[in-house]
C-alpha cells in the first residue's frame, strides 16, 4: 500500500517530498498551498482519521512546521495484522512572521479544536476557521506561550511572583 501511495503522491502533486519511515509509515512534506488537496487525496486513499494536528517551532530557521497525523480506522479484526495499517505524517512549513494556513475543517471536521489550540499556543492563523477563540488559556499572552521565544521563567516571575501573600 505504502509504495503505491508514495508513487501516486509524487506523480500527482508538484513539490511533494515523500519519505518512507517504516513499512507502514511515511512522512509527506508538502508546500503550504497544496495542504487541502493533498489532505483530501489522502483521505480518499483510505487515511480517514485525523488523529492529531500539531506544530513545531523551528526558531533558528524562522519556520513553523505544522504536522497532520493521519491514520485509518480498522474495520475488521484481521486488519490489525494485515498490511492495511497506515500512518502518514503530512507536514508543511510556514514562515514565523504572520503564520497562516488554510483551515481544513471542511475535510476533517475534528480539526476544529486542534486548530484553535494551535492558534492560541503558537499564534498560527487558520483562514476560514469559524471561531478562533481561546480554547484552554484564560489570560492574554503577549507572545503565544508555546513559541520558543516565550520566556516562561520571566513570565511566571512577573505574573505569579508579583502576587503578595494575604496574611503573614
Amino acid at each position: 500500500m505504502i509504495p503505491s501511495l508514495q508513487k501516486d503522491l509524487e506523480a500527482t502533486f508538484k513539490g511533494v517530498e515523500v519519505t518512507v519511515v517504516e513499512d507502514s509509515r511515511m512522512s509527506v512534506l508538502a508546500p503550504r498551498d497544496s495542504i487541502p488537496v493533498v489532505l483530501r487525496y489522502l483521505k480518499e486513499s483510505g487515511l480517514d482519521h485525523l488523529a492529531l494536528l500539531s506544530c513545531v517551532d523551528w526558531i533558528k530557521e524562522g519556520k513553523f512546521e505544522v504536522v497532520y497525523v493521519l491514520t485509518c480506522y480498522m474495520r475488521n479484526d484481521t486488519d490489525y495484522t494485515s498490511d492495511q495499517r497506515l500512518h502518514v505524517l503530512l507536514k508543511t512549513e510556514i514562515p514565523r512572521e504572520k503564520p497562516a494556513l488554510k483551515s481544513v475543517i471542511d475535510i476533517f471536521e475534528n480539526a476544529e479544536p486542534y486548530e484553535r489550540e494551535i492558534h492560541e499556543l503558537y499564534g498560527v492563523h487558520f483562514d476560514g476557521h469559524p471561531r478562533l477563540i481561546p480554547l484552554l488559556l484564560e489570560r492574554d499572552y503577549e507572545i503565544p506561550p508555546f513559541r520558543k521565544d516565550f520566556d516562561t521563567r520571566k513570565y511566571v516571575e512577573e505574573t505569579f511572583g508579583s502576587i503578595p501573600p494575604v496574611e503573614g
Partner: protein
C-alpha cells in the same frame, strides 16, 4: 459515642456535629483526585470519619483541592468556595497547591493557592496516600475543636486583599464581590 466527649457535645453541639459530618465537595482538579475514589469507597471508607462526598457546593463544608490549579480551574475554585455555606474548611492536597510543586514555572498554573482563597491545612506529598487524608482529617478535627480552622472568617476579614489578588490574575471577574470592598475594577471605573 466516646463518653469522654459528652461534655464537649453538651457545650457546643453545633460545632461537634459540624466536625463529625464533613461533607466534601466532589470537585476534582489535578492528578490527586485519583486517590479520592479509594478514600471514599470500601478500601479506606471515609464514612468511618463522617466524610461523605456531596454533589453541589451548597451542601458541602469541606473543600479539598486535589492537585495543580490552572487559571481556569482557579476561577471555578473561587466560585465554588464562595458558594459553600459557612463554616467551611479548605484543605490543599499535594505539593502543587502548596507552592506549585513540579509546575512551579508553568505559564498557566498558579503557585500558592492560599493567596487566592484561605486554606486551613495542607497535605504534602506528590501525591499523598489515602492514609494522609485521614491524618489530615483528624488534624482538622483538632483545629475545629480549638477554633483554629477559621479560614472562612479570615476570608471575610481579608476579603479586599483576596479579591485584589484574584483580580490581579483575571482582569475581568464575572461576578461581583462577595463582601463589600473596593475592587481594582471599581477603582479604575472611578
Amino acid at each position: 459515642m466516646d463518653r469522654n466527649q459528652i461534655a464537649k457535645w453538651l457545650k457546643s453541639p453545633a460545632k461537634m456535629a459540624n466536625k463529625y459530618s464533613l461533607h466534601a465537595v466532589y470537585f476534582c482538579t489535578g492528578c490527586g483526585i485519583i486517590e479520592i475514589p479509594p478514600v471514599i469507597t470500601t478500601r479506606w471508607d471515609a464514612e468511618r470519619f463522617g466524610i461523605i462526598p456531596v454533589a453541589t457546593p451548597r451542601q458541602g463544608n469541606l473543600f479539598m483541592i486535589t492537585g495543580y490549579v490552572s487559571l481556569k480551574t482557579l476561577k471555578a475554585i473561587i466560585r465554588t468556595y464562595e458558594q459553600m455555606p459557612d463554616p467551611k474548611y479548605t484543605v490543599g492536597f499535594g505539593s502543587c497547591p502548596i507552592n506549585g510543586g513540579m509546575y512551579w514555572d508553568s505559564y498557566n498554573t498558579i503557585k500558592h493557592l492560599d493567596r487566592y482563597i484561605p486554606v486551613d491545612g495542607w497535605i504534602a506529598g506528590c501525591m499523598p496516600r489515602p492514609e494522609a487524608v485521614f491524618i489530615a482529617i483528624t488534624h482538622l478535627w483538632t483545629l475545629i475543636d480549638k477554633g483554629k480552622a477559621d479560614g472562612y472568617l479570615r476570608y471575610q476579614e481579608n476579603y479586599a486583599a483576596y479579591r485584589r489578588n484574584q483580580e490581579m490574575l483575571f482582569a475581568e471577574l464575572e461576578w461581583p464581590p462577595l463582601y463589600p470592598c473596593d475592587s481594582i475594577a471599581e477603582e479604575a471605573r472611578k
